[in-house]
Structure formats: structure tokens, C-alpha cells
């Protein structure tokens, strides 16, 4: 756990956070009263029913949504906007379609003004880390969904973020690929020191990945449970058969009141549903 002199970066602090989305009469509280401290280097999963505001919390951490009340900080620095210090991975298809995989991954260093040769070398290292080095010269649309997500993770990690924010990154993948991706993410995470905040609606996924699982209520989202998991790492599929796993799963399922709450439209880390983006004047 955290100590006063902890030097590892990535300690997240959220105090009395409320985020309001939408405009005018359409406005609503997506999340309210969130208080949270996340230890540096830990892997935290956030679960909750669809539309509960878990992605909104992620968007606020990324700096794309500003708090209506309260504050967020990383290592004592207040979050005021997006930063490469806080990498963000979306659910799907946010690689730049016009850039080859290597240039997508090299985007962060390019923004810092790093020379082409050097940033491509950096990008190759990251691609090797996620096992995509053979696909450096491909365009994103030539990759499978799972490979695209690996490239996205590499693109965020190249900036050495202290916090990696992931919004249902494997939600669009088939079950088998999803399992592979989860194991690979844990492998990668063990090689880099970064805090991960991982949003999902899949209880198995959360319990398999996390050190700590936060459960959110339906909208307006609040944290209604906070589990610390003690399963040993590295983890593999046998964990799903662990009796403690089953117990936690049942608890989470009851908390989410599965199938009972009416499902709300999904929110995204950059605001309400994309369809509500204001049309041309």
C-alpha cells in the first residue's frame, strides 16, 4: 500500500467528484460523490451497469471531461486537461487510419518533436512488447480487432504514462481473443510500471485482471463497493475455477442487480453518446 515516501508515480486521488454531462434541460449528473485513492502501480477495474458513468470517471481522469464539483489529481498534480502522462485506450478503432501501425505508435514521441528515426526505433520496441513487430508497416484497417487494440496499448505506453486508462478495451472482441488479450495485458503491465484504471462491464474480466475492483451504481454513478483481490500473479485461466473467485463473482453480480436495471445508453470518456454531438449551424 501507499506510504508517505512512495516514489513510484501514478498515485491517483479523486475527491468529491461530480460530473454533469449534456446541455440545458438535457443535462444530467453522470457521476456524483466519487472519493477514491488509487495506489501507484496498481491495477484497478471499474464495473457497473451500462450508462452508469464509469466511462465518465475515466474521461475525467483523462482530462477530457471537467468536474462540475470536486477535483482529481495524479501524484498531487491537479488534472486540468489531457496529457500523455495519462494514456487513454478506447473500446475500438481509434488508431489513426491514415498512419501505418508504426507511425501510430510513434505519434506521442512525434508530438514531442523526436526525430523520425529515433521515434520509429522507440515504436518498434513497443510493438515488440505487444507482439506486433511484424505488422509495423500495415495500416490499422489491415489488422484484426485484437491486433488493433494491442497497437492502441503500445501507442499509449510509448509515452511512459504514470496512469493507463482503458475504456472497455476488449469489449468489441470475441471471447477467445478477449481471453488472450487479458493475459497479454497482464504480461505487458508487469513489464512497465504504470497504474491501470480499466473500465469493463464484464465481471470475470475485472476479477481476472485487477488488484482492486470498484463497483458503481446505476446513474448517477457512485462507488457502492470496493474489493481488494489477493489472487497471486501471474494469473491464468485456472483462476476462474478458484472458489474465492466464484464468491466474489456472486457478490459483484448481486451488487449489479443483473438484468434488473433498465439499460441506459452507453456513455463515453469524451461525453454523452456520440450521436448528440451538435449538428451544423
Amino acid at each position: 500500500m501507499m506510504t508517505a515516501g512512495d516514489r513510484t508515480p501514478g498515485h491517483v486521488e479523486v475527491v468529491d467528484l461530480r460530473v454533469r454531462l449534456g446541455e440545458g434541460s438535457q443535462a444530467f449528473d453522470a457521476i456524483v460523490g466519487i472519493n477514491l485513492a488509487i495506489a501507484a502501480g496498481s491495477f484497478v477495474c471499474v464495473i457497473g451497469p451500462s450508462g452508469c458513468g464509469k466511462s465518465t470517471l475515466l474521461g475525467a481522469l483523462a482530462g477530457h471531461l471537467s468536474p462540475s464539483q470536486g477535483a482529481l489529481s495524479v501524484d498531487g498534480r491537479v488534472i486540468v486537461g489531457p496529457s500523455p502522462e495519462r494514456g487513454l485506450v478506447f473500446q475500438q478503432q481509434t488508431l489513426f487510419p491514415w498512419m501505418k501501425v508504426i507511425d501510430n505508435v510513434a505519434f506521442g514521441p512525434k508530438m514531442k518533436g523526436r526525430a523520425v528515426r529515433l521515434r520509429r526505433d522507440d515504436a518498434m520496441d513497443m510493438l515488440r512488447l505487444v507482439g506486433l513487430d511484424d505488422f509495423a508497416g500495415f495500416y490499422p484497417s489491415q489488422l484484426s480487432g485484437g491486433m488493433q487494440q494491442r497497437a492502441e496499448i503500445a501507442r499509449a505506453l510509448i509515452n511512459h504514462p504514470s496512469v493507463l486508462l482503458m475504456d472497455e478495451p476488449f469489449g468489441a472482441l470475441d471471447a477467445q481473443t478477449r481471453g488472450q488479450m487479458q493475459r497479454q495485458l497482464l504480461e505487458t503491465w508487469q513489464k512497465v510500471t504504470t497504474t491501470v484504471v480499466f473500465v469493463t462491464h464484464d465481471i470475470d474480466e475485472a476479477l481476472f485482471l485487477a488488484d482492486r475492483v470498484l463497483v458503481m451504481s446505476p446513474r448517477p454513478g457512485r462507488i457502492i463497493a470496493d474489493f481488494t483481490l489477493h489472487f497471486s500473479r501471474p494469473r491464468d485461466a485456472s483462476l476462474l475455477l478458484d472458489p474465492d473467485f466464484a464468491t466474489l463473482k456472486t457478490q459483484c453480480r448481486e451488487l449489479l442487480g443483473e438484468g434488473q436495471s433498465a439499460s441506459l445508453p452507453r456513455l463515453s470518456p469524451i461525453g454523452a453518446a456520440p450521436a448528440t454531438v451538435t449538428a451544423a449551424t
Binding site: A62, M111, S268
Partner: protein, 284 residues
Amino acid sequence: MSYSITVAAPDDPSAVRPTGMRTLKRQRPERIALQIAAVLACLGVWHVVTLLKLNLGFITFHNVPTPVDVARGGWDFLTSSTAAKHVLASLRRVGIGFGLATIVGVVTGMLAGRYWPFRSVVMPPLEIIRPIPAVAWIPLAILMFPSSEASMVFITFIGALFPILLNTAHGAEAVDPRLVASARSLGAGGAQTFREVVFPGALPNIITGLVIGIGTAWFCLVTAEMISGQFGIGYFTWMSYTVQDYRGTVVGMILIGILGLGSSLLVRRLGDAVTPWRRLDRKQ
């Protein structure tokens, strides 16, 4: 659009994307034969009605030259000393007018698509001007520009501007906000995001605007040349009519068609060349 004539073999992924001439190569021979036959049939009908000098009362082909006449007229035109002058005059006007429209349209469109204050200032006056056909500008253009050359270029510019501007603005506005957010989270500043994400994101729409714009540029230029001008295909077409050289008129029309088609294809090809990521399913 050209969907029906560009459909390729059913198992070909490019079959669903109309992509211009490129897909012609992949078409089945019988399809190509049918297309050629359709063109020949049109020529045949033209030949018969003009040979018979068909007169249906409301329409008469008495003065319409036959295809053979037109072919001879075309040869005469191409071997004449003034042919190059006419063609080059028109190409130059389209080049300048379309080039200016590209610069103004893309810059204005990009800004209007991204910044609402700019859009609120610039778009209302443009929306009022937009429905006015470029042809209606001709008298005013003649009054405003002392040189008839400048007035013709202006008409061409007006014709090309709106498709380019509106498509660019739409493209810039429609860039996936998640891509913009990703860029910001990767450390891109405002100008970097604009250059690295918004512009390439809007590029496919910009190219669509340019392909439409080059077509309207020709359309407007020819009209302008018919009214004021000393050289140019439009001028040649109209002059041939006034001196009762009806072959020349049709030669001019066909030439306009060929130049218009050729320049749109050129713009489309250039557009394909700068957006290689959009051709992927064709490559594989």
C-alpha cells in the same frame, strides 16, 4: 452514382465501392462488350436520325451534323493552327480558377468546420450567395473585372468554390471526436491536432469536393467563354454556331466533355495517391 457500371465480380471486396476507372480493369469481358455496344448504339442512332434529317415537328435534326461530319470536323479542328490556343486558354482558366477555389475553399472550409465563431461569421453570407448559379454572375463579373480574362477566371472560381468549401467543412466537422481526443491524450496541441488528425480525417471529403469542383469549374468556364472571350473551347463552340459551322459546335461539345472527364479523373487519381489507406481492400 456510377455504381451500376463499376460493379466487379461478386467475391471482390471492391465491388461495393464505386472507385472510378480503376475497377474497369477487373470487369468481365461481356460487361465491357455491353458498355461499348451501348456507346456504339448511341452513335448509330445519332447517325441514322441525322442522315434521315428526321423531323418530328417539335424536334428536328435537319441542321444537326452526322457523326462522320463531326469526326471530319474534329480532324480539321485538331490540325488547325488555333486548336492548341483554344484548348490551352481553357485549361489555363480552369487551372487558375480551380486552383484559387481549392486554396480558398479548403482553408475556409477547414476553419468553418472546426471553429463555430468563424463558421457563424463566414457561413451566413456564403449561404446566401451559394444558391446563385455561377452563370448569373457573368454580367456582374464583366462589370467588376476590367479584363475579360479575369472575369472568366472569377466565374470558374465561383463555380468550383462551393463544392470544395462545403465538402471540406463537412469533412472537418465530421472527424471522429475520439480520434481528436486520442491525439490530445497522446500529447498533441491544438495546431498539431489540426495538422495530424483533423486535416487527414477530412481529406477524403476534401477530395470529393475537388472532384465535384473540377466538374463545375468546366461547366461554368464554358458558359463564361461563350459570352466573353477570344479563345477557349466554349468560345470556339459558340463561334462555330454563329458562323453556321455546326460540325465545329459538336466538336467543341465533345471536347468539353473529354477535358471535363479527363480532369476529374486526374483529380480523383491524385486524390487516391494521397490517401493510400483508403485503397486497402483493393490491394489485398
